[in-house]
Amino acid sequence: MHIPDGLMDPLIAGLGWLEFAVIAAIAIYMSGRRIKDKDLPRIAVLCAGIFVAQMLNFPIGGGTTGHLIGGALFAIMVGPVIAIVGMTVILLIQALMFGDGGLTAFGLNAVNMAIIAPLMGWGVYTMLKPLLSRGEVQPGKTFTAGEAFAIGAGAWASVLIASAACAAELAVSYAISDGAYGIAATVSVPAMLGYHAVIGVGEAIITVGVAAYVLKVAPEMFKSTTSRPVTTMGIKGILSSRIAQATAAILIAFALALPLYFIYSSEGADGLEKTMEDAGVGEPEPLLTSPFTYGEDYFAALFAGILGFVAVALVGLGMMRVLRAGRPAE
C-alpha cells in the first residue's frame, strides 16, 4: 500500500501532505503532553515491534501472502493519538531507509496507514467492545468471544478503509490528470479492495492472536485501557467518553476523505436521474422537503456527514437497546 513518488497527481499529493501535517501536528502535541520520558523507549520498542511483525508474512491463498499493517493493533494497545505518531515513525523509516513509499507521496501514505488505519481500527473496536463483550471469559482465554470479534473487526476495518482511501486517491489522481497520474477507478478500486478485504481477514486473525497473547503474558502493555481517568460530568464527561472519542476517530477519517469527493464529484446526473431524463420522466414535487442538504462546500458536507453518522449511530444504538430490553436478565 506504499505509494511511490511520481504516481499521484501533484494536487492530490499536496493535499495528502496538508492533511497529514494538520493531524500529525495535533497528534504530536497531544502525545507530547501524555508521554513521560520513561514511556519513550517503550513506545519506540512498540514501533520496532510493529515494524518487525510486518516481516511475518501470512498465507492468503492462491500462493500469495500478505503481511500485518499493525495500525489497529498499535492503536488498541496504546491509544490512537500515540499510534498515529508511532506509525508515522515506522513509515518514515520505511521511506527513508528502504525507499518504500515516496517523499512527495509520504503525506498520502501517512494519511492512509498512520492516520486512517489506527483511527478506524480503534474507533470500530471501541464502538463494538461495549456491545459485544458481554458474557464470561472462557477458562484459558484472555477475553470474551465478543471482545475478540471487536478487535478483529477493528483490524479488518482498518485495513479495508485504508486501502479504500488509497484506491480513491489513485482513482481521483487518474481522473483529474486525464490519465497522466494514478490508476483508473475500474482497476484500483476492485484490485485494492478485493485484495485487502482478504488481507484484512489475516490481519484480524493475527491482531486477535497477538492481543490475546500479550494480554495474557504482559497486560501492562495495553496502556489505552488503563492510563486515563474517566470524567463523568458535563461537556468534559461527554468528550472523555470512549464512544464519543471513537465516533470522532471515525469522523476524522471521513473528513480526510471528503476533499477527494469534492475534487472528483461530478455535476452530471446519477444513474436514476439519467434514466429518467432518457425516458422523458420529470421529477415530481416532493411531499416533504428536508431542511438539510448534502452541502455545496467542504464544511457543509462535513456537517451533513456528521449529522448523518450520528443519526444512524443513535438509531443503531436504540435498536440494540430495544433488543437487549426484550431479553431476560442474566
Binding site: G6, G49, L56, D100, L170, I206
Partner: protein
C-alpha cells in the same frame, strides 16, 4: 539477521550503512542530501512531458552510477519497489496508451532511484540527525533513533524465533483456514512484543544512565560546507530547469 519487510527483498540495515561509508555521498551533510532529494522528487513528480521525464530518469540513473553505491544493491532494492510501479504503469498503459504508461514507469522510477541512492548513501543515524536539524519535531526524531535501535535487536530475535519454529517442523500453511499456522504466527508476533517490552525497561535504565531526558541529545553539530551548498545548488538548478521547461511546454 533482520530483513527488509518490503516485498521480500533482503537487505540488512547495517548493509545500508556499509554502502554509505563507501560512497562520497556519505561525506555530505545529510540536510543537503535530504533537501536535494526532496526538490528533485517534487520537480520530477510535476513532469508530464516524455522527453523531460526521460531526462529526469537519466539524471537519477547517473546520480546512482556516480554515487559509488554498488549497482547490484540499488537494483535489488529497486526490484522490491517494481511490482507497485508496474501495476500503475500497466494500468495507465491499458487505459491511456503506451506513452502515458511509459511516462508513469519512468517518472516513478526516477523518484524511487533518487530516494534509494539517498537512503543507501547516508548512514542511518546521520539521516535521522539530518531530519532533526531540519526541524522535524523532537518527539518524532527521538522515536526514530530509538525505534531503529530496537528494530535491529528485535529483527535478530525474530530471526532466532523463526529458526526455532522451523526446527520444530513449522511450515507456513496454504491459506486463511490454516488455524494452527495463524496461531503460531500470532504468538510469534506476540512474543516479539513481550520481549520488546522487557527490553524497553532495561533500555530505559541504560538511557537514563547516559543522561537521557525525553530527548536524544544532538552529538553531531556540523555546519553546511561549500560542497553541501554546491550539491543542493546542483539539484535545485536541474530541478528548476526541468520544471521551467515543463511549464513552458504546457503554456
Amino acid at each position: 539477521m533482520i530483513v527488509a519487510h518490503v516485498r521480500g527483498h533482503h537487505t540488512r540495515p547495517e548493509e545500508l550503512d556499509e554502502h554509505a561509508r563507501a560512497s562520497w555521498l556519505g561525506k555530505l551533510d545529510p540536510r543537503a542530501k535530504i533537501v536535494g532529494a526532496v526538490v528533485f522528487a517534487v520537480a520530477t513528480a510535476l513532469l508530464t512531458r516524455t522527453d523531460l521525464i526521460l531526462a529526469s530518469l537519466l539524471l537519477a540513473v547517473s546520480f546512482g552510477a556516480m554515487s559509488q553505491v554498488p549497482y547490484r544493491h540499488l537494483v535489488r532494492m529497486y526490484l522490491g519497489a517494481l511490482p507497485f510501479i508496474l501495476m500503475a504503469s500497466v494500468s495507465v498503459f491499458l487505459f491511456s496508451g503506451l506513452e502515458r504508461g511509459f511516462d508513469m514507469w519512468a517518472r516513478t522510477s526516477s523518484c524511487v532511484i533518487t530516494l534509494l541512492v539517498l537512503a543507501s548513501g547516508t548512514e542511518t543515524y546521520e539521516l535521522f540527525s539530518g531530519l532533526r536539524r531540519l526541524k522535524v519535531p523532537k518527539l518524532v526524531s527521538t522515536l526514530l533513533m530509538l525505534t531503529y535501535k530496537y528494530i535491529l535487536i528485535l529483527g535478530d530475535e525474530l530471526a532466532r524465533m523463526k529458526t526455532a519454529r522451523t526446527a520444530r517442523g513449522f511450515k507456513v500453511g496454504r491459506g486463511l483456514f490454516d488455524g494452527r499456522g495463524f496461531r503460531i504466527i500470532s504468538y510469534t508476533a506476540g512474543m516479539v512484543f513481550v520481549r520488546a517490552s522487557a527490553r524497553a525497561d532495561n533500555g530505559y535504565e541504560g538511557l537514563r544512565a547516559r543522561g537521557f531526558r525525553t530527548d536524544m541529545r544532538q552529538m553531531r553539530t556540523s555546519r553546511l560546507k561549500a560542497r553541501d551548498f554546491a550539491f543542493m545548488a546542483w539539484f535545485a538548478c536541474l530541478s528548476s530547469l526541468l520544471v521551467i521547461l515543463q511549464l513552458g511546454a504546457s503554456q
